[in-house]
Every structure is written in C-alpha cells, then in structure tokens.
C-alpha cells in the first residue's frame, strides 16, 4: 500500500480519536481531518479516476465506521474530489493556495452536506446553524492541512507518495 493510503487511513482513525478530546459544544475545533487529507493528497494521483475511486471508498468507510449513513459521505467526498480537481487546475501548488483551497472546500462541504441533510432528512434549514458549522470547522482543519504540507511538501515529492 502506498504512503498516501496510509496517510488517509491514519487521518480517518485520528479523526475519531481527536473527537474524544474536543468539547462537544465546540465552536472552533470541529475535525474534518479525512476531508483535509483528501484535498491535500490530490497532486499525488496521476490518474484522476483512481483519485475519485479513493474519495468514494474512504467516504463509505467514514460512513460505515462513524456515521452509519451509508453512501452519504461517499457521495459528498466524491463531489468534493471533483471540485478539488478543478481548483488545483486554477491554483499553483503552494501553502497559501492549499490553505485557500481547503477553506473554500470546507465551506462547500458544509453547504452541500447540510443542504442534502435538509433535503433527505428531518432537519430544518437554519442559516445560523450552517454558519456555525462552517466557522467551527475552519481553524483546526487549516492547522492540519498546514501540518501535512510541512511534513510532506508536495513540490519535492510530486507523484512519489
């Protein structure tokens, strides 16, 4: 198994562990570590189809292990993967752009996720709830993607993970 898959698996597990140490009423530290790794890992895939498959598989794994909402995150991560593909075409590969991309994608992920939940589930749409969910997910995840960038600089390891 290549390192990128280890990285995804570790992020999947750490996301579960880190939740045990974060306040359930957090307004700042909602972890989306797997999503961040999915965003970060895109340049290491030569083949886009492989990347989309990976998004789908890890999304389903996330559903199976943590949420019991089979295919919900599979579908969401696949959509995010598709948007990642276009955003990486627009931006060059540096830390500022990776952080910007991750911020945009967290916002898109929250809007898509919440809209879908309101559409298919019994949630009532509230702008405040949506806004709170976005603001609570920015800081920790930006720190995590910056950390990933520092330990695995994409410029020097392109296609080698």
């Amino acid at each position: 198994m290549k390192i990128r898959y280890y990285l995804l698996t570790i992020s999947l597990i750490i996301e579960g562990i880190i939740s045990n140490f974060i306040s359930i009423q957090t307004k700042l530290w909602s972890p989306l570590l797997l999503l961040m790794t999915i965003i970060f890992i895109y340049p290491y895939f030569k083949n886009d189809k492989k990347y989309y498959k990976m998004c789908l598989i890890y999304g389903i794994l996330y559903d199976l292990i943590y949420t019991n909402t089979l295919v919900f995150h599979g579908f969401l991560f696949l959509l995010i993967g598709y948007i990642v593909h276009y955003l990486y075409k627009l931006f060059s590969l540096n830390i500022i752009n990776i952080i910007t991309t991750s911020l945009i994608l967290v916002i898109i992920y929250r809007i898509l996720g919440y809209s879908l939940l309101c559409l298919v589930s019994s949630y009532n749409f509230s702008w405040i709830t949506l806004l709170n969910s976005i603001t609570s997910s920015l800081l920790l995840n930006v720190i995590y993607i910056t950390f990933l960038y520092i330990i695995i600089n994409p410029k020097y390891h392109y296609y080698k993970l």
Binding site: N20, I24, Q25, S30, Y66, T69, R110, L119, Y123
Partner: protein
C-alpha cells in the same frame, strides 16, 4: 479506425437526472428507514473501531494518568469532609432500608415493569465521539454480544445522556440527547412537591446548554431546580432516569402551554464511561 461515440446532450441530461434521483432516493431511504446494520456494515465497523481502539488505548492511558493525578489531589481534600459526613451515614442507611422496603411493596402493588431499578446494567467505555455538527453520537465498546439492543437507554453517573442507535457485534453507537434529530421524543416528568408535571423533551439549545420541555398544560408553578426524570411511558426508557433540573419556565405566545428550560444533569463533556440499561428497548 474505431472512434468513441459521444453521447448527445439530451441523454447526458437524462442520465444526470436518473443519477441524482437514485442518489437522493437512497439517501432518503437511509435517513428515514429504521434499518439495522447489515453483516458487512457490522464487520467493517467492528474492524475499523478495533483499529481505532488499539491506537486510542495508549493515548487514553496517558490522558487518564494525568487526570488521575489531578483527581488524587482533590480526593485528599474531599476525604476530610467525607470523614465528618460519615458520622451521619448510619442514620441515613436505616432510613434508606425503610424506604427501599416501602418502594418494593409499592412496586409490587402497581406491577411496574420498567422501573430503573429493575434494569440490567452494562458498563462500557466510550471509544469514539462523533462531535460533527449534525451527528452528536458516541461509540461504545459493547455491542449486541453484550445484549445491547437498539433503543436502550445510555446513562452516566449523573443521568441520562442518550440511547443506542445502532449496534454491531462488539460496538454500539449511541445518539446523544444533544443531537439535532432525536428519533424518540422523550417523555419526562417534573417533580413539583408531591405532584408530577408531564411533558416532552423536544429540543437542545447548544449555545445555552439547555433542553426544552414542551406540551405542559398544567398551570402549576414549577420552581427552579425541580428534578426532571423520565416517565417510562412509551417503553422507550425506564422511569426515574434523571435528565436535568429546571432552569426557567416560559409561556407560549397564546399563554396556553408552558415551555420549561432545563439544565442537563449529565455533563456531556465527561462521557468516557457510560452504562447501558438493557431493558425497556424499543424497535
């Protein structure tokens, strides 16, 4: 040479519409059907959570050791206070035995079958919390092999914290009362002197950390600090589980029904160890 045929735009639109319908349909089914996990889902969940448990164990050990050291210092202080209180213990024990005897007699008379004291308790450790904005669930290290079933009440030392949502063989996921979409509206009663006021626990305000009880029609004044417990009605939870304490009361716009705000008894930050009451389950 063979050339790849391009789909006409109308077919692409049809395919897209079918795809979106299928996806939305499946999601609607997943969110609305009261389904149990399949064998494959149970297997993947068990393996995934086992792996997480292996990594989490040393991390938990370190954090618990730090916590234990802090607690030890506090215990020393409390020990002195308890020493004084222990003198009153004998008196209270005699009173308790008398009350327990009376309670058993009354229970026999009323043929209650879902009181808290009759439940079977399964102690479990929280191995994962999903604190994501929409879910608010915890995963515990006991599953259907420990007789845990969907709908069982989950408590900690302070009171009710939620109910079991799904189970695999060795793990269960419990939905917290703080979750936005509770499937069960919980029937609760407020103790006001010798009277009980009944209502439904409907909503959790994350910002204020309070629950709301609606559907109260009695005009009885409800004092602040009154104890709120489950009623045992609807067979969802056993009766007598402490949910919280009354914080304030409000009248609705038509001044017909009361809304009561209650402060949760359980600390939802401290749910490392929980107990599942494996009786009074619902499907």
């Amino acid at each position: 040479m063979h050339r790849k045929r391009k789909l006409e735009p109308r077919y692409i639109v049809i395919l897209l519409l079918v795809g979106i319908t299928v996806i939305l349909g499946s999601l609607f089914y997943i969110f609305h059907e009261n389904r149990s996990l399949t064998i494959i889902e149970k297997g993947v969940k068990d393996i995934g959570l086992f792996l997480e448990g292996v990594i989490y164990t040393p991390v938990r050990w370190v954090s618990e050791t730090i916590e234990v050291t802090k607690e030890r210092q506090e215990i020393n202080k409390e020990y002195d206070q308890l020493k004084r209180k222990s003198l009153e213990y004998d008196l209270l024990e005699a009173k308790y035995n008398e009350l327990d005897k009376e309670f058993k007699e009354i229970t026999d008379l009323m043929e209650l079958n879902s009181t808290m004291s009759e439940g079977t308790y399964v102690n479990a450790t929280t191995i994962n919390r999903n604190i994501d904005y929409w879910y608010q669930t915890i995963t515990i290290d006991k599953g259907s092999k420990s007789d845990i079933k969907k709908g069982n009440a989950v408590i900690n030392s302070k009171g009710l914290i939620g109910y079991v949502d799904t189970t695999s063989n060795y793990y269960s996921t419990a939905k917290l009362l703080t979750s936005e979409n509770l499937n069960h509206k919980i029937s609760v009663k407020i103790e006001v002197g010798e009277l009980f006021v009944y209502g439904l626990l409907t909503y959790y305000d994350k910002d204020k950390n309070i629950f709301m009880i609606e559907g109260i029609s009695e005009n009885t004044g409800i004092p602040k600090g009154s104890v709120v417990t489950t009623t045992g009605l609807g067979n969802t939870f056993p009766s007598g589980l402490v949910v919280g304490y009354v914080e304030s009361t409000l009248m609705d716009n038509f001044e017909l029904a009361k809304t009561v705000n209650i402060k949760p008894a359980a600390n939802f930050e401290d749910i490392s160890y929980v107990t599942v009451i494996t009786k009074g389950d619902v499907e």
